[in-house]
Symmetry: C2
Subunit: 361 residues, 2 copies
């Protein structure tokens, strides 16, 4: 019997509540498919700062190292925003995990589900045009990690600096991830850069073009980041896979998430070359609605499905979860933010949504 | 009598056609307000490459130096896209002009005009919520110009790098520009950064907070660039002035422009500390529609109005042009892209729009 161990890092804000629902769903698929999913919880983020003095305690890191995958909730909140940059949850935990495990390949799907078009901030005809984008974002290099990074000088001439840096190898492996993904989708990669200004973008373009030669069945286009933010708004259905550097991917993936109008439905995967990964919802920790039982657990549940698919190679359970989620949406068992004002009375709670996904399984 | 000299750089694509209409309008206001606007045309961009061997010939630069302001059309096109980065129109002409004249302060207004809401790619209720944003973008520093910038190494480990760099002084002067602008508008500055990742953004935040102390009547908020691209889509009416670094301003100003759905209406100003400036439409050179007499000249005409207002201190003629443009829009004398499919037959040509603005003056 297949056995896996999963490090569960629920974190802050709505993290713990939505993680509980993903946990229910994992128990249900484990039973149905006869696999063992050993889950072990570890502290992370603001919660870990408050209880263990740092955002990523050593025990948590070791727990992750011993696991086959990390299921991550969400971290951060106003309480920890005044800490020095290096100690804050986002940097100290999330960026450290990404870099420690070399999780260079970040997949962020964004689609507008049929029936949920009216949630999109886009004009109806655009929202209904069949939007289904996968942002493939490089996650362990670029201006996030490039050295040198610092501050120098005095008075008015004091200056700060960050380095955007990409090697051929780094670009190559993320480009390969994008082309592989496109092969299983609509066969189109749009690479986002700023090659009219940045040297890193020039190299990015060169390498993606070289990689494209190995994928004759996938088309490649290039688009400037400024134009990309426009096109995502004007005609998002033109895109299949958007291949981005770390910073541009941060920006574009959030724009794509918002375009769906249903952030609470969007999962993400961050993986390394061995298939080990961290799986987390696209939305944040939403401290404003935490603890009220109204947060949407679907993004967390779909993150668990991505984990099964990509890190554990368990395709059937992953498919089953995704189908159960679609059935849950179709049955109208959804949290308040997915409903129009006139239908708020029939909003389901966080745990009711989780229960329904389990029932649909 | 007030006398000014203006360097006119029409450039490529639709540049020359729309410039011709701005020229008509300038002649008309000059006569009406009794000012002399001496205009002198200079080659720039792809046109200059083809005819003079470089995108910014020395005579053009000298012509700009001798003028009180630069009225710029648009440059670039597929024909020159394969040139090395340093020789391409955008970099060799536009970025060189910005840096040569220290045009650090870039103002990019974006509003959704009443009656034109249906052009916006945003949902109707959002498009009608009263969108009127001014992006204030730093234009001569940041990752566009930071050193070192280059390429090193061999094989797979070859890498490229760009430097994002900001000094206190550079941040201060653009922050002042944003607060000054906000004082004349709704009194709200939203500063866009990525302070959870970038050292330059940390300094950016510090300096804008210090500058804010001098403007007690203006409020200051900070937003991360990824969240900003989401908020511009979800609720653009919340913004008044968006203060951005060079790269983030490039991205956000284009998103704001697209959000209006009427790029052909948007002017921009790029100024230095002496009030000298370059004024150009927000849209590009649109080679696909060039030479057909269908391009919208309004953005170029409004750029001329900004020039009168900001560089020449001629408020009354600037107001008059802006009012004439509004009257022209209200009269429905507009180019095809502003009309729904069913009304394309009544589209005005480029020169008909220019003539109407002159008539309304
Ligand atoms: C929290 C922050 C550092 C992070 C990032 O910029 O990568 C977040 O925005 C994300 O996209 O996961
Ligand atoms: C052409 C390009 C270099 C330029 C920029 O990025 O600044 C353009 O996009 C702009 O915004 O004026």
């Amino acid at each position: 019997m297949s056995q896996y161990s999963i490090a569960v890092l629920a974190g802050d804000g709505i993290g713990p509540e939505i993680m509980q629902e993903a946990d229910k769903v994992l128990s249900a698929v484990a039973e149905r498919f006869g696999i063992t999913l050993n889950r072990k919880a570890f502290p992370v983020g603001g919660y870990a700062i408050d209880n263990h003095g740092e955002a990523l305690p050593a025990t948590t890191l070791v727990g992750c190292e011993q696991a086959d995958a990390i299921l991550f909730g969400s971290i951060g909140g106003p309480k920890w925003d005044t800490l020095p940059l290096e100690q804050r949850p986002e940097r100290a935990a999330l960026l450290t995990l990404r870099s420690h495990f070399d999780l260079f390949s970040n997949l962020r799907p964004a689609r507008i589900y049929p029936g949920l078009e009216s949630l999109s901030p886009l004009r109806e005809d655009i929202a209904k045009s069949g939007v289904d984008v996968l942002v493939v974002r490089e996650l362990t290099s670029g201006i996030y990690f490039g050295q040198p990074k610092g501050r120098e000088g005095q008075g008015d001439e004091e200056f700060a600096f960050d380095t955007m840096r990409y090697s051929r190898r780094e670009i190559q492996r993320i480009a390969v991830a994008a082309f592989e993904a496109a092969q299983k989708r609509k066969g189109k990669v749009t690479s986002v850069d700023k090659a009219n200004v940045l040297m890193t973008s020039r190299l990015w373009r060169e390498v993606t073009e070289a990689v494209a030669n190995d994928y004759p069945d996938v088309s490649l286009e290039h688009i400037y980041i400024d134009n990309a933010t426009m096109q995502v708004m004007k005609n998002p259905a033109q895109f299949d896979v958007l291949l981005c550097s770390n910073l541009f991917g941060d920006i574009i993936s959030d724009e794509c998430a918002m375009m769906t109008g249903s952030m609470g439905l969007l999962p993400s995967a961050s993986m390394n070359e061995d298939g080990f990964g961290l799986f987390e919802p696209a939305g944040g920790s939403a401290p404003d609605i935490a603890g009220q039982g109204i947060a949407n657990p679907i993004a967390q549940i779909l993150s668990a499905a991505m984990m099964l698919r990509y890190s554990l190679n368990q395709t059937a359970p992953a498919d089953a979860i995704e189908q159960a989620v679609i059935a849950t949406l179709e049955a109208g068992v959804v949290t308040a933010e997915l409903l129009p004002a006139s239908e708020q009375h029939r909003a389901a709670s966080t745990s009711e949504v989780g229960d329904e996904v389990v029932r649909q399984l």
